[in-house]
Each structure stands twice: as structure tokens, then as C-alpha cells.
């Protein structure tokens, strides 16, 4: 039995925010001075420091074995970046410990330390050294790096003359040729054009699956995670919520406990600052019964109830539908369909209803986000993944043939089949 490559034990990291406090982030001597004075004069305010403490990570533990490809997911502020920074030695944990075995390389960004004045060749050496490669190692990999980046003709041109695509390719290429036993990657795939992203994904797959390396991969892109990772860790507000098979974790990520009843009631009280306050959201089947499981019928009915507190003009209210991988299938608001909805809405209670045709849905889990905005100007409310529902039509071909469903949605085209001659 071999020891895990990375063991994370009760890892915690505390940040102190807000008031600048000596030892944590005073920006100027004045802050420091202020703080000391306040400490002398006003003890109560000093106690309030507790409110400024944020635990970016709290007692997180899991192990990563040799050859594992682990995805780390979570919403913004869940602690993903903090975890990566600790694993990359950029910052220290406040409590707990991590034990790593083997050569670790981490990639929090592509192109770190690139200098625009220098040529492609010079930057390869510089960036390689920053990422921890030896000069001799870069010498041997140089041609491969240039080839992968497709910048052979421009290798002696200053990087400032590169297109952004070339720059990214070169930056990624240097990083992709690191050969550590453990690779920690952050969101690098979120950049560049589609072609480039495909290439990156291909390289990532190659590194993790064919070369048997251990990879820790953090991303917002659930689709990429689903493709690459066998296991996942889901972070929520600094805690590790689930660690397990990717499918289960993604389901847990997309299905917070609150989204399983078919109805959502906003428990946050309306504040006077809100122009529009969301009251409730409901998902109903064809018989107008509120339910999270819909198995038949022509449409799924969605009802959004809200209160306009101050007269608004130019606003729209709408929904966004995501599939189980978190991919947005459609976003649509009332005013997108009929411009008259942009007209003034006076104070009062409103109900928006719409029907999602089931003919376009494949069997599976779906997630509903409700929003209201004045386009290009401001958000009035935004509740992400507020409801989840499952659509299961037993007459559906997916079920009948047990075929692996391809595509995000289902369309039944009208087919004409004629025999020609």
C-alpha cells in the first residue's frame, strides 16, 4: 500500500478583512497608528475584530493518491483559490498540515512573469525558470515547446508583437512541458479561443490519463471537470462538503438542499434598497401541481412572483435553464420576447409565468436561475440555481434505446424521406 501523494489534514486558513489591523494588512503607518490609538481609547471597537475574521478554509481533509485526477469545485468564495495557494506554497495555512510526496508543480496562471519586451525564446527560458525548470531541461524541451505553441517563425520576435492567441499558446506550452509528478492547475482552460481550449484539454487529458500523473484541477467549468476528473472535492464556504466520484459531486454541487421541493420562497426580507424583491419561484407540471419531478405533459410551467417596491422602467424578469453539468441551455426574459415589458412597472405584486416546452428536453436534472435586470445597467435580483427539477419521460428515445445521449437538448425534426429514382 503506497502512501497518498497529497494528504490534507484539517487544513484551515484565516483571513482578517475590513479594518486594517497591524500584522494583517495595514496599508500605511497611519492605519497602524489609528489602530493603536483605538486600542487604547476604545476597547469595544477592538472586540469587534472578531467580525472581520473570515475562515477561507475550515478543517478540510482529503487524500489524493498516485495517478488520481481530482477536480476541486465550488462557488466563488468557497475557498478553492485559497486551497490552491496553500498547496502551491504561496501562502501558509493557519492550522492543519499538508504532506506532499514527489515533485509538485503548480500553475495558477499561464504566462506568469512573461516580459513583453523580451522575445519568445527569452520568455521560454525565463518562464521555465520561474516554474522551476532547469536550464538544461528547457534546452532539451525547447523545440517541443515552440512546436506545440505554433510560434516557430516568431520565436525571436518580442512578445509584445504577438497576438493574444499566440501569447497564450506560448505561455500554456511552457507550462504544459513541465513534468512534475503532481500538477496543480487553476482555471487555465478558461482563457483563449475555442481551438486553443480544445488543445489545452487534449494536453490535460494526455498528462492525466496517458502519463499517469497526479493532477489537482480547479475550475468553474463543470464540463471540463466532468471530462477530466475521476473524483472531485466540493468546497462550500470553506468547508469540504463532499469528496467522491465526480458524477455524485457535480450533482451535489448543482443541487443544494434547498432546491428539491419544486418551490422556493425567498426568506430574505425585502430591503428598501431593492427596487424589485423576489418573493417566490415555483415549478409545476401540466396539471399545475408544484413538483420537482416532471414525467409527462407538453410543458413545464414556471412561476416567478415578485414585488416592485419602487417604480422601475426598462426592467426585465426572466429565467435561465442549466443542465446537470451546469451548462446554460437558455436564458430568456419577458422583455426579450415583447419589448412592451420594458415599460414602467409601478409598485405592487407581479407574477411572471412561462412554459418550457418538454419537447426540447432530454431526460435528466435541470436547474433554474431567476433574475431581473435593467439590461447593461444594473441587476435587480439574481438567484442562482434556485430550483432543481427532474424531467423523465418514459416514452423518450434515450430510455427506449439506452443510447448514450448526445447533445444538450432534444429536437424532433420533421424528416422527409424520399427514395430518389
Amino acid at each position: 500500500m503506497t502512501k497518498p501523494v497529497i494528504s490534507i489534514d484539517n487544513l484551515s486558513k484565516r483571513y482578517i478583512i475590513g479594518e486594517n489591523i497591524y500584522g494583517t494588512g495595514a496599508r500605511t503607518f497611519r492605519d497602524l497608528f489609528d489602530h493603536k490609538i483605538r486600542k487604547l481609547l476604545d476597547v469595544k471597537k477592538h472586540v469587534a475584530e472578531k467580525d472581520n475574521v473570515i475562515w477561507a478554509l475550515r478543517d478540510v481533509s482529503f487524500n489524493v493518491d498516485q495517478g488520481d485526477v481530482i477536480g476541486v469545485i465550488g462557488r466563488n468564495g468557497a475557498g478553492k483559490s485559497t486551497l490552491l495557494k496553500i498547496l502551491s506554497k504561496i501562502t501558509e495555512p493557519t492550522k492543519g498540515r499538508v504532506t506532499m510526496r514527489g515533485r509538485v508543480a503548480s500553475l495558477l496562471e499561464v504566462g506568469t512573469g512573461f516580459s513583453y519586451e523580451l522575445t519568445g525564446r527569452e520568455n521560454i527560458y525565463l518562464n521555465g525558470a520561474i516554474l522551476g525548470m532547469r536550464k538544461a531541461e528547457i534546452d532539451t524541451k525547447f523545440d517541443k515547446i515552440v512546436e506545440f505553441a505554433e510560434v516557430a517563425q516568431f520565436v525571436d520576435t518580442p512578445v509584445k508583437r504577438y497576438s493574444s492567441g499566440m501569447f497564450l499558446r506560448l505561455a500554456f506550452s511552457v507550462a504544459a512541458h513541465l513534468e512534475p509528478e503532481v500538477l496543480i492547475v487553476d482555471e487555465v482552460l478558461a482563457v483563449g479561443d475555442v481551438q486553443f481550449q480544445k488543445k489545452c484539454m487534449g494536453k490535460m487529458k494526455d498528462v492525466s490519463q496517458n502519463q499517469g500523473r497526479t493532477v489537482l484541477f480547479v475550475s468553474h467549468n463543470i464540463d471540463a471537470i466532468a471530462q477530466l476528473c475521476k473524483k472531485c472535492a466540493l468546497l462550500e464556504k470553506g468547508h469540504l462538503r463532499v469528496f467522491g466520484e465526480t458524477d455524485d459531486v457535480i450533482r451535489a454541487y448543482l443541487k443544494p438542499e434547498a432546491t428539491q421541493t419544486g418551490a422556493f420562497t425567498n426568506t430574505k426580507p425585502a430591503s428598501s434598497a431593492e427596487k424589485i424583491h423576489l418573493e417566490s419561484v415555483k415549478v409545476m407540471d401540466a396539471t399545475r401541481r408544484v413538483t420537482p419531478k416532471i414525467s409527462s405533459g407538453e410543458a413545464i410551467h414556471v412561476q416567478v412572483e415578485y414585488t416592485v417596491q419602487k417604480e422601475v422602467e426598462g426592467a426585465r424578469v426572466g429565467i435561465m435553464l442549466k443542465n446537470h453539468q451546469g451548462i446554460i441551455l437558455v436564458r430568456n426574459g419577458d422583455a426579450d420576447v415583447d419589448l412592451r415589458h420594458y415599460e414602467k412597472r409601478g409598485p405592487g405584486r407581479y407574477v411572471n409565468s412561462c412554459a418550457i416546452p418538454t419537447s426540447v428536453l432530454k431526460n435528466g436534472d435541470y436547474f433554474l436561475t431567476v433574475f431581473s435586470d435593467i439590461p447593461m445597467r444594473e441587476w435587480l435580483f439574481y438567484e442562482e440555481d434556485v430550483l432543481a427539477f427532474e424531467y423523465q419521460d418514459f416514452a423518450n428515445n434515450d430510455v427506449v434505446y439506452h443510447e448514450y445521449p448526445t447533445g444538450l437538448m432534444k429536437f424532433d425534426f420533421h424528416w422527409d424521406v424520399t427514395k430518389d429514382g
Binding site: 496599508r27 500605511t28 502551491s88 515533485r103 509538485v104 506568469t112 523580451l118 525565463l126
Partner: protein, 275 residues
């Protein structure tokens, strides 16, 4: 970067020893950072290396005029221009190394917040890259030496020691400034003022023997006093070098360096969080 090495990450105590082995592992990065800065600097400026020549020469002319012509200071038979230039070489190396080191962490924010490497490398690279400028300026010095027909004697053997001392002094003070500069941005404001003050209490344009005896001890607390006098000793053979004061100045440099390194190590864990 040993494959089987076990790496443990956990909260460290306040003061951490310097990991020399790790520094040695990253020596190539040090080299590349110096190389980058030198290259970028000379690529960006029109005059390129011309700056490394023009600055000391112009300073030499001005200082010689002020101290020699206006104030009437003499320099024990050494051509005054050469005497000043020698001080300027040492001073420029120090002041540029010091200001480079002080700003180095802020300038390299994105390296600090995205990649791990021993942070000491950043200010060290900032000081050491000054050796390139010093080398170029030294060529000018050689020209003046030939012009005045004034050549160094066997004392030149002390030059490496003077240089090492200069590095230790610049890095020692620079480490303090750079570590605090990450947290307190006012350092950047106060800094030019501090350097300017130091310039006047360093024997660049005049000899330290002009300083009245009752102020001597205070004057020699400045690490650069020793460095400049050592430069003069090795290049010109004449210098005001009272041994006890020389030791004092050297001791201050070493203390600044050692404490600077330890303070830097203590503060470096927070760099990524506050930068």
C-alpha cells in the same frame, strides 16, 4: 526538488532559518531574473548602456565642481575628478541596489502571488543586477585613469572585499525596506528622502577625514562610509581608514544584513496575502 522528498506545509513559527539548500536549487532563477531586468532595461531605453556611463560622469563633474572648486577641498594628491568618480561608482551601486531591492517585491507582485520560490531571490536579484551597471561605469573609470595617468597599486586586491561589502550593505538595508514596503506603502514615499539624506552623510564628494572628530562615530555608523572608503583605498591607494571605525561600519552592515534576512523570513509568509 528531489523526487522522493516529503514536503510538509504547516503553520511555521515566527522566525524561520534560511533554507540555503533551497536557495541553491533556485540559483538559475536568480540568474534569469537578473538577466531579465538588465535586458529589459537596456532594450527599453534609447541610450541603452549610455545611461550607465552618462550618470556617473555628470555626477562627477557636478560634485567635483562643488567640493573642489567651490568648497576648496583637496584630495591628497589624487586628481579630484578621479577621487569623486570612485565614490560615485560605489554610491550608485549602493543606492540603485537599495532602491531596486526596496521596490522589487511590489514590482514583482504577480510572481509573488502566483508562483512559489524563495522570496529572498527577488531583492537579491535587484541588488546584484547593479553589478552590470557598475561594470560598465568601471570602463569609464579606466578611461579617466588613463587620462590622469593614475593607476592603482597592490591595494586593488581589496576591491572584491569592497564589492562584497557593498552588496551586503545594499541588500541588508534593502531587505528591511522591501519587507516593510509590502505592508506599508508609505515606504515608497519616504524612500527617496532617506536615500538623499544618506548621500550627504556618505563621503562621496569629499573625504571622511573632513568630519569633525566628535561626530566621527556617528558618521561611521553609516555602512556606506566604510564601503566608499574601501573603494577609494583599493582604487586610489589613499583613504581615510581608521581601523576601529572601519570595524564599526562593517559591523553595522553585517548586523543590518543578518537582521534584514531574518526579518524578511519572518514577514515573507504574509507577502502573498497582503501584497
Amino acid at each position: 526538488m528531489d523526487a522522493n522528498r516529503e514536503l510538509i506545509l504547516e503553520p511555521s513559527p515566527g522566525y524561520v532559518a534560511v533554507n540555503l539548500r533551497e536557495l541553491w536549487d533556485y540559483r538559475e532563477l536568480l540568474y534569469f531574473l537578473i538577466w531579465r531586468d538588465v535586458k529589459v532595461r537596456y532594450k527599453q531605453t534609447v541610450l541603452g548602456a549610455g545611461w550607465a556611463i552618462a550618470r556617473p560622469v555628470v555626477s562627477m563633474v557636478v560634485l567635483t565642481f562643488i567640493f573642489n572648486r567651490l568648497a576648496g577641498f583637496s584630495s591628497d594628491g589624487v586628481p579630484y575628478a578621479l577621487f569623486t568618480l570612485c565614490g560615485i561608482l560605489a554610491w550608485n551601486f549602493f543606492s540603485e541596489g537599495l532602491s531596486g531591492a526596496s521596490q522589487s517585491l511590489i514590482v514583482n507582485t504577480n510572481l509573488i502571488s502566483k508562483v512559489y520560490f524563495p522570496r529572498l531571490i527577488v531583492p537579491a536579484a535587484a541588488v546584484l543586477r547593479g553589478l552590470v551597471d557598475l561594470g560598465i561605469a568601471f570602463l569609464v573609470y579606466i578611461l579617466f585613469m588613463i587620462y590622469y595617468q593614475f593607476f592603482p597599486g597592490v591595494q586593488i586586491l581589496a576591491l572584491p572585499l569592497a564589492l562584497l561589502w557593498g552588496i551586503i550593505a545594499a541588500l541588508g538595508v534593502g531587505l528591511w525596506f522591501s519587507a516593510f514596503g509590502v505592508k506599508y506603502r508609505d515606504i515608497a514615499q519616504a524612500f527617496p528622502f532617506v536615500v538623499q539624506l544618506l548621500f550627504w552623510v556618505t563621503p562621496v564628494g569629499y573625504s571622511s577625514d573632513k568630519v569633525p572628530a566628535k561626530w566621527e562615530v556617528l558618521y561611521w555608523l553609516n555602512p556606506m562610509t566604510g564601503v566608499v572608503e574601501m573603494f577609494r583605498y583599493s582604487l586610489l591607494g589613499v583613504a581615510h581608514l581608521p581601523v576601529n571605525l572601519l570595524i564599526l561600519s562593517a559591523a553595522v552592515s553585517v548586523i543590518a544584513f543578518v537582521s534584514g534576512v531574518y526579518n524578511f523570513r519572518r514577514m515573507e509568509k504574509e507577502f502573498a496575502d497582503v501584497i
